[in-house]
């Protein structure tokens, strides 16, 4: 006979942290690490940058936890912080002049399967994503990969809904063109 595991809610963990139980924050970090990490890695395309942005977002989230007005929606709130961190990190990387290069490890995580197992298609997708302008990549990932509503995206990004729709449309068009070219090669 199995035992049902009752998971502590985000709101409970947030309340415990605010009451002084710092260790409770580890539960929130573990809960959101991979999901937010996926966005950071796709957005930044570099393991080191993605982990830096993720770590920074978690620490900023902790420092500002009292401003999480709806602890039940801690994940969505933290998402907003991460989107901002990725913008800052991405801009800094661009200033450094780093070419956007896909990092096998970053996209597979640790531990990761052999790079040899990756297919040409996977590689083509990540290269195509890397060629999008950051604002197009951001909008595409939030809409299609993270499955957010446009209103939520507008709150997270500060952009208007119509602008976001346009960015998603352009991102889709550009991905199609880039991937068609890749198929011909």
């Amino acid at each position: 006979m199995g035992t049902d595991k009752v998971e502590t809610s985000d709101a409970d963990l947030v309340r415990r942290v605010l009451a002084g139980d710092t260790r409770a924050y580890a539960g929130l970090v573990a809960r959101y690490r991979d999901r937010l990490g996926r966005y950071a890695m796709h957005m930044l395309g570099d393991r080191e940058d993605a982990e830096e942005a993720l770590q920074d977002a978690f620490v900023r989230g902790y420092r500002s936890l009292a401003r999480c007005y709806d602890p039940e929606r801690f994940g969505a709130w933290l998402y907003g912080i991460l989107v901002n961190r990725c913008r800052t990190t991405g801009a800094r990387a661009a200033r450094r002049g780093r070419v956007f290069v896909r990092d096998e490890g970053a996209l597979n995580g640790v531990p990761h399967p052999s790079a040899a197992e990756r297919t040409e298609w996977e590689d083509a997708v990540h290269r195509a994503l890397a060629r999008l302008a950051p604002e197009y990549r951001e909008a595409f990932l939030l809409k299609h990969v993270e499955d957010l509503e446009y209103e939520t995206m507008a709150r997270l990004t500060g952009a208007g809904v119509s602008a976001l729709k346009m960015r998603v449309k352009r991102a889709r068009e550009q991905l199609q063109v880039i991937l068609r070219e890749a198929e011909r090669v």
Binding site: R15, R16, V17, L18, A19, G20, T22, R23, Y25, A26, V29, A30, R33, D34, G37, R38, M41, H42, A50, E51, L54, Q55, F58, V59, Y62, R63, S64, A66, R67, C68, Y69, D70, P71, W77, G80, I81, V83, N84, L107, N108, G109, V110, P111, H112, W121, E122, V125, A128, L129, L141, H144, V145, R155, G158, R172, L175, Q176, L179, R180
Partner: protein
Amino acid sequence: MSEHDEDVIERVVDELRRPVQVDPAVDTRVMEEIARLPVRRGHGGGPAAGAAWRWLTRPRSISLSPLGGLGIAAVLAALVLALSGRRPGSPSTPPAERAMREFEFVVVEPHAARVSLVGDFNDWDAARTPMRRMQGGSVWTAVLPLRPGRYRYAFLVDGTRWLADPTAPAARDDEFGAPSSVVTVGSS
């Protein structure tokens, strides 16, 4: 858009939605960094008060409408005054401390029982910087030494109302969901 094009996007999305595992060492690094931060002191009333504080300080609660009741009309003005002549330290003070400048934050709130200054400089902790009521009145002040930099801040009235400073620039890049203001401290 052709069926083939739609199919391409679907396959792209399927690829990008595959779960990603981040190095769990990130957890350790986050918790280590948090452990180095000042101890959280809460909002002065334990978890229940904290929950009430968060509920009451949602963005909608700061609307300058009659709904807010007491004190709404009382927000007459707020000023941030750089007291350039009030620099702490002597010639023997370390350079980092000499670089600090004292700022006086001022808000007019005649009906408030207590007002706190919260911002990047105190981790938005309402317990750390209570404001002082000027004699006889409706003016609340707090003086804070700040190092050069850019800080976001707001006023918390009676632990329930969150006010941006109407006389200071709004923090447009605020990522936490509530209005706040910005003060920039120069290095000279």
